[in-house]
Amino acid sequence: MSCPRCDGGGTSEGAANRASVGVEPTDAATTWCLVGTPNVGKSSLINAIAGSQLQVGNWSGTTVEVASATTRIRGTRVTLVDLPGAYALAGTSSEEDVVLPALMAHPEALIVNVVDATHLARDLTLTLELTELGRPMVVALNLVEQAAERGVGLEPAVLEAALGVPVVALPDHRRHGAGRLVDASERARATPATIPYPEAIRDAAARLAPYVASRWHALATLSAEVTDAPAARAVAATERATLDAAGIDPFLAIAEARHRAAVELAGGATLERARRADPSERVDRWLLHPVLGPLALVAGLALTFHLTFAVSTPWIDFFGLVQEVAAGWVAAMTLPPLIASFLSGALIEGVGTVVSFVPVLFVLFVLLGFLENAGILARVAYLADGLMRAIGLPGRAVLPMVLSIGCTVPAIQATRMLEERGDRLRVALALPSISCSARLPVFVLMAAAFVPAYAAVVVTGLYVLGFAVAIASALLFRRVLRTPEGSGAMELPSYRWPPASLVLRLAWARTRAFLQSAGGPILLVVSVIWLLLEVTLPNGTSLFEAVARTLAPLFAPLGLGDWRIVGALIPAAVAKEVAIGSMALTFVGSGEATAPLGFLAGLGALGVGLLEAARDTLTSLWGFGGGGDEVDSVLTARLSGSLTTAGAMAFMVFLLLYVPCIATLAALRNAFGARWMAFSIVYQTTIAYLLAWGVYALWP
């Protein structure tokens, strides 16, 4: 729903993201739709014109991310919409499929066609298609300097004369380019290009014209690329039959004519000096080397993982401290006990949980934005594709898989770099099975308590099991869902240093979009769990205990008949490591009671915490700090009293696989809608139950 002026397509996915973007249209408002091939620098342009207003959200009814920004240009409110990169108007991936409907949804919008000067002939094919829509448009030539470096000089004036629409060259100093673009937008014209199509094609298109919106639509209907106009379909079928009889393949003929026209246009507007090769290819001889390449990939993935979690950890700790201090202040105030409990147990706890994802997501989005815009992600896809295809996933899925060892939430956010929705969904549904760092403390505690001699083996085994289930799920979903798979035909764009402001603004916009859509659900679940613990039934037990006792018989076949064990699984839905705290409370009778800090002491602690976080961020760049968790000996002793070893194994397997934590669910809902979130809950819980039961039954 990034498109601020679009209300259409109210599907569940769209509805889920409605909250993420909202810009009200005003009177003197206009929209510019940025269209161009992938990696052409559309987002850099939008950043240069109105970067501080950058917002991201899903296009209505889809999972395709669209960035937009609204700014005031010479007294008019202009909304810039950055449409996904596309090589042609008739899409070849679920991202590209968004472009044409988006353009048709804004009939009044100005089309700003951003063209890559280093691939002029190819990009002009899209330009020619766009002119055939018969809409006012402007062509912006980007990467002119890079083209000059490679020995290709350009003459925008010649191109403008030939095309009949304004053409501006954007210099690398993009601020000036924006001004030129604004000047050109005032001269914007609709001039359908004259493309020498074969006579028969032109006649057939003319006969189709009354049924469709533009010449482009007539040609696309003729070549069966677009089939959404029912009236035109019958006419197109007869026209196709006539052409077939004449031995003309309309698709090939149209594509060929456009290509020739584009090559001619490009040739006319290009002053070719000695053409030099792209320097990126020289780098790729090392980075894509059959032996060095995979090594570089492993090193790069490890570095990405390290940076994502090491840089964000001090800040997560700092926000934890803020939460503690705030709870202390609430405790110090003289409030009715119920309100105080709600404030610290539900509100501060819930907001703290939401906020704790900000550092990790922001760091991840900075890294992703860099990798994407620098052209590195395409190389990751190239190197990992062979291996990942073996488990039914595209090469780019390697990054979410690796990230999910740390935390599933950023991993699910990272799936948006997969081009095809089907691939994205498959990967996102498989990810929750991979053990994240929140599950590790529980495994360590339980393994140390029940199989101290084999603790390492058991914990490793759980990680292997998680990966195995994830891979099996991915293969299963490929079979069952039958969603189209993304193509492996992808450009390896030139390496480029993306502007820092773009990467940071995009990361912040993406983080904000997650908070807006995930904050509510997380708060709700935390409040419900607080309510369960808070409400005391007439017979003296808490509601939490009653619910856990009711559920316990269900888990008896898994060897988990004790209500305290089952109970630990309920609050663990917020974050799985909470299971330990819950068991500590029910088995030992006391949580980790820390003395609340006073107002001044709290402020002091915050200041020290802030400094520590800043220092740890710097030190974390070259090494992991921090030690392991201490194992609570009283708790382990009591646990072994009420669980058998087989039951403990079943508990760990169940905790590994059951309902993804609430933040993961919110991320799934954000990306795919409530239905797939519900599916994930049912799917994971079923798998968890069956496997835990199997482990309990088979444990010697």
């Binding site: 290819e281 894509l288 594709d385």
Partner: protein
Amino acid sequence: MKPDLATGDSAHATAPATTPATTIAMPAASAAVQTGTPPACAPCCVVCPLSELGRGGCARVVSLAGAPRLQRRLMALGLRPSAELAVLGRAPGNGPLELRAGTVHLMLRACEARDVMVEVDDPSTLRMPVRQAPAEDAYVLPTV
């Protein structure tokens, strides 16, 4: 996947370093007439799927097959009939091919490359020697 082509290394190992460029010079007219290829084709050319090309191979696209969506994508990326391309590399583990077609630097999965028929001027750049071709019908060899 044909078993003979499964691993890159063995295929490379079996490819002999024979057939230097000079030995494939043949009367120009015959090849062009009999294979029905455009006259631009070198005297002797082999038509085979792009997936058969090894690193360093150069070829010209003859035709595209497969799903229409993929065909459109390939055309848009510059793999259109009569376009020249070069194989810059192949990723390990039967991974994708790294190609240059015109000004475009791109990757293409081996399974998708099977849908692209190309004509190769220098058969020594094929991963499998032509004589040991697993499927006879995959090649159109000009008869002299």
